[in-house]
Symmetry: C2
Subunit: 122 residues, 2 copies
Amino acid sequence: MRTEQDWNCQDPEQRKVWAAATSEALRVLEGKWKTVIICQLFAAHGPLRFSELERRVDGVNQKMLIQQLKQLEKDGIIMRTVYPEVPPRVEYSLSSLGVALGPAMEALIDWALLRRAGMNGD
Amino acid sequence: MRTEQDWNCQDPEQRKVWAAATSEALRVLEGKWKTVIICQLFAAHGPLRFSELERRVDGVNQKMLIQQLKQLEKDGIIMRTVYPEVPPRVEYSLSSLGVALGPAMEALIDWALLRRAGMNGD
DNA sequence: CAGTATCCAGCTTGATACTG
DNA sequence: CAGTATCAAGCTGGATACTG
């Protein structure tokens, strides 16, 4: 599944394809709470209820959480399952595309921590 | 340099640290042209002049390019070098923190291409 | 060449109140 | 419990014109 892209490629068009693809990818992850939601879903190793996400995503309000969840669902990163019960139960989980984000998220976490370390110590 | 973070960690506080770190990291990369600029700098394997970036970053206008470059510089990802010549020459290159973004960018590109494939074929 | 300055439309976020 | 609705402030992106 590796795409064999590498920075040594001399084809300007190919480089633009990567740049555009990365741009699109990042646009899907943009939004103040999306990465937090995704991280929490990874950490949970399973579906989370709306109320559980509300507790785990520090500082988010209902409207924003719902909005971000809807966008993530539309973009195919998470799945929403409704259980026809009273009171209502709705669970959110990572789709296969969401799970495939794992390596990128981990690389991002590594970089984020490196960045933090540089900002303090260095 | 690996941080040994893994999704199995059961400490909720630790998970919040990652989520917050990732959020910060992504915020630094947000902005319509930043990933394109970064990709082009990686692909160039060396510094690029302002005008060269303007050519390579498809569709950007001067104001936006400068704004994004300034932010990337402020956030420590790129470096700006001014050569006291006439006409003026300014070169932009990745800092060590910028270079450290490599693995994350590659993982993101892989995911972006996987996502595209899924959207067409699937 | 590599910027700066101005102006503006539209999107994003958030507070607050209400509902099946 | 898991949403929807409304309103407003602030930020983002972009077109355009000017400058050392």
